[in-house]
Amino acid sequence: MQDDAILVEHSLRGDTRAFDTLVERYRDRVFSLAFRILGEASAAEDAMQESFLRAYTRLPLYDPKQPFSTWLLCLTARVCLNARRHQATEQRHLEQAAKAMPPAPSIEERLYEREQRRTLQRLLMRLPAPQRAAMLLYYYEELPVAEVARALEVPEGTVKTWLYRGRESLRRWLEEELG
């Protein structure tokens, strides 16, 4: 498998197939993150398109010292937060989140676990969007706090506070829901 850095270099020289390979490699991750932030499959699909388009047009700005995946996922989070600003109907998304969830990848997945994950996704949607994005970049994508802060354009201390508050809110809500 070719290194991301090499594929980026080839893309920059105009090799569109190299960029296609990067898209193929990351589309599930980009889509999943977008879905977790936006809570809706069609919105996530739009965000995925937009993210790859932006990644391509801004590729000359990418600093190879940072992993390509980090750069791409941070960019995706920003696209999602921008997209959300244009949505006037957050309340609708909030409760539709669970229903809109695409089928889970493994069919043999236990019904109970699936229900829990849907609950978690639904509760995530209750958090303020920037807090949710921070939670997902940090816990779900396991990016360092410094990168999350840079992506969301807030100080690291703010990210740490969001992570604590988000985690505590989820704990409380989960306890209320699951008993």
Binding site: D28, V30, F31, S32, L53, A104, Q116, Y139, V145, R167
Partner: protein, 134 residues
């Protein structure tokens, strides 16, 4: 008890994530030793973190094509050349002879398979460009 612990919560979270300064660590550990509520909270937060990490990755719907857009007009020019030049050459050759040109007449300029390839390339470029604009 719980109310008294509330101001400690951010520190507790820092501790869990390994961000707590060494100077604050000892006193927090002492508190943890005698406070079951805080220990329970740590355990619950850990579960939340694990649950978030365990959220499944979802299969992305198929992209029609990688949304590659090159806003530079040079692409359009290259495209026009790739598509129109060979066609113009064929037409010119046809008109000048009033009959279909023999393969070997085109060959010096562009073998047929190259023409087909370039047209294909042009079309896929055009397609990705249009997708990107949408």
């Amino acid at each position: 008890m719980r109310d008294a612990c509330k101001p400690l919560e951010p520190l507790l979270h820092d501790y869990l994530e390994g961000w707590l300064a060494e100077s604050q660590r000892a006193s927090l550990l002492r508190h943890l030793q005698r406070c079951a509520a805080c220990r329970e909270k740590l355990r619950a937060w850990e579960q939340v973190g694990l649950a978030l990490r365990a959220l499944p990755r979802l299969p992305a719907p198929a992209l029609v094509r990688a949304p590659i857009a090159d806003p530079e007009p040079r692409v359009a020019l290259r495209l026009a050349l790739a598509l129109c030049l060979p066609a113009a050459m064929l037409v010119a050759a046809y008109i000048s002879h009033f009959q279909p040109p023999a393969l070997e007449q085109i060959a010096p300029y562009a073998p047929l398979h190259t023409l087909a390839e370039r047209a294909q390339e042009g079309l896929s470029l055009l397609w990705s460009w249009v997708r990107g604009m949408l």
